[in-house]
């Protein structure tokens, strides 16, 4: 995938340079009665960036989006658009495009009427309006559909019209709230590519909300993982996947095996911990100190699987093979340790050929310290 390269900061930390940022959230909070929906979100969106809010439902991502659009008032904090505070501005003065989850296409207007609506509100004259509607219809791949009513369109077509309506007035920022949620898998993948293409062609900044991790990985320059009204981690897809900073991120984005223990030694950016399986080592991703309670997270595809109990190797966990699941391009192996924990390892098709194993066999897994992450235990228990 072709990402916009100029804006990505390798460590996932935000650059507070307002010069090339389109949107900034500073300590934005939203409280409904006694329930906290959003708990202090700080964020900078760079010009032309595609940033995704990823998280389970109820994690505050949609509420944050609604506050940016002006549909909800933040309880505290500031929202800056192009360096200007927008908090006093009502939604109709913010000039932000938004695509709603169920599209919210006006059922009593044609496709052209829907797309022309924002232009009409901006006092664009009829001839110019017609020209831009035609251009937009072309852009979203629905030329000659202007006279249809929304209910005469398929789900995918409605999605395109909603997108067209939100970009026809050339807003500098586009918000998308789970726009592909209602589409089937195949159409969703197609629309993902289409949206990425539009993003590239128009150079527009996009804030995208989804609970689908695959969608987030495919489309985004950066991803903000939301949990319990907070951003757990913000960074590129690779950062989040390879170096999750909390157990929630490690578990929500992809699959992880977790081991709990106490840090016993540090060396060279690595961290060793005492666990029921002996000493295990990992990359020290959370600035852990000796004596800290810690959780080790390692991806199934980073595990090497061997027959028998090989106690000599470091980072070795052994157990009984309980399941072998054929997945086509890979094979999933599940083993149960003596402590009753389940460990999942993923083998590629090539490896499968070499090592044929049978259920009930004694096996062990091992990994390179750099491929695992040691995380603070506090967040893990969350």
């Amino acid at each position: 995938m072709n990402k916009v390269p100029n804006v990505i900061s390798k460590d996932g930390k935000q650059e507070m340079s307002t010069a090339n940022s389109i949107l900034e959230l500073v300590g934005v909070r939203k409280v409904y009665g006694s329930a906290v929906a959003v708990e202090g979100v700080d964020l900078t969106l760079h010009n032309g960036e595609f940033l995704t809010f990823l998280g389970p439902s109820g994690s505050g991502k949609t509420t944050t989006l609604a506050m940016i659009a002006g549909l909800q008032m933040p309880t505290a904090g500031k929202i800056l658009l192009n360096g200007q505070a927008v908090d006093p501005l009502p939604p109709y003065k913010r000039n932000i495009g938004m695509v709603f989850q169920n599209y919210a296409l006006f059922p009593h207007m044609t496709v052209a009427g829907n797309i022309g609506f924002p232009l009409e509100m901006r006092g664009v004259d009829a001839a110019e309006r017609k020209r831009r509607i035609a251009k937009t219809l072309e852009l979203i791949g629905l030329p000659n559909m202007g006279d249809r009513y929304p209910h005469q369109l398929s789900g995918g077509q409605q999605q395109r019209v909603a997108l067209g309506r939100a970009i026809v007035f050339e807003p500098p920022l586009l918000l998308m709230d789970e726009p592909l949620g209602a589409l089937d898998k195949k159409l969703r993948v197609q629309m993902q590519l289409e949206i990425t293409r539009l993003h590239r062609e128009l150079g527009i900044s996009i804030l995208y909300v989804t609970h689908d991790q695959e969608e987030a990985l495919v489309m985004s320059d950066r991803i903000a993982v939301f949990n319990d009204g907070k951003i757990e981690q913000l960074g590129t897809a690779k950062d989040l996947y390879e170096r999750p900073s909390t157990a929630f991120v490690a578990g929500f984005l992809g699959e992880s095996n977790f081991f709990h223990g106490t840090v016993s030694g540090l060396s060279d950016g690595r961290c060793f911990m005492e666990t029921p399986y002996g000493q295990l080592g990992a990359f020290n991703n959370a600035a852990l100190q000796v004596g800290d309670e810690a959780t080790l997270a390692v991806r199934p595809e980073r595990l090497f699987l061997y027959r028998g109990r090989d106690k000599k190797q470091e980072n070795c966990v052994s157990g009984t093979l309980t399941d072998l699941i054929y997945l086509g391009q890979s094979r999933k192996c599940v083993l149960r340790t003596a402590n009753g924990d389940e460990v999942v390892a993923l083998q590629h098709a090539q490896q499968v050929e070499e090592a044929s194993m049978i259920i009930g066999e004694e096996v062990c897994v091992t990994w390179n310290c750099a491929d695992a992450n040691a995380l603070s235990h506090r967040t893990a228990s969350n």
């Binding site: 006093p88 501005l89 009502p90 003065k93």
Partner: protein, 271 residues
Amino acid sequence: MVASSFSSGRFWVRLRLAICSFAVIYLIAPLIVVLIISFSSAPFLTFPPPGFSMQWYNNLFTNPAWFNSLVTSIKILIPTSILATVLGTAAAYGLARSSFVGKQLVMGLLLSPMIVPVIIIAIGIFGVFRALGLYGNLLGLIIAHTILAIPYVVMTVSGSLAVIDKRLEDAALTLGASPLRCFRRITFPLIFPAVLSGMLFSMVVSFDELIVSMFISTPVVRPVTVQMWSNIRGSVDPTIAAIATLLFCFSLLALLSERAAARKVKKEVDE
């Protein structure tokens, strides 16, 4: 600029709330006036009344003209509500649980007394009932009121039947219940609140009916509305207000009992 657009929004909100407050007063004002007047000590309609008295409630039971008409109304109301409820419920059930050509037409026919202007019904009935000997007696009034009440029963019961889960009945039938028992044990308890509210509706319709009664009643058999009508057009006295207050209390009671029944059934179904 921003502030002005906000305040224009506020202007519309204020206008809306002002209209709502007006509407609330407008809708309840007559009721309040009637309530107050019914306790007036003045012999005619002065508002606000000079003092408190129960004389109009007394008058209602001591003045034979008023008392007799009240009795007549009740004598009509009870058979009417029973007849309309039985006929209407049976028809609604029959319609909901059968399929035949022209169902829409039959439904329309059952509801038509509600749609046709009452004055037309009144005159038609006046013409025909005289010939049938149904003029100036209770039977005629009961039949006429039943006609007017049936649509209300059909409507409320049909609404309820459309909502309840048909699979419950199917289940009962497959478990060996006869259709009659299925109705008695499953369907009827579920639609009971609607049947009750249909019955209450028919009582209110009957008690409040004026136009048809006006044509087919005589001074001997005269429902209370007709008595009120002649009273309003002649010398008005606050006894009307006393009846109205009693009627409203009755309606309120009916409404509350219907709500309670509905809540009970809902609770049972939820459990």
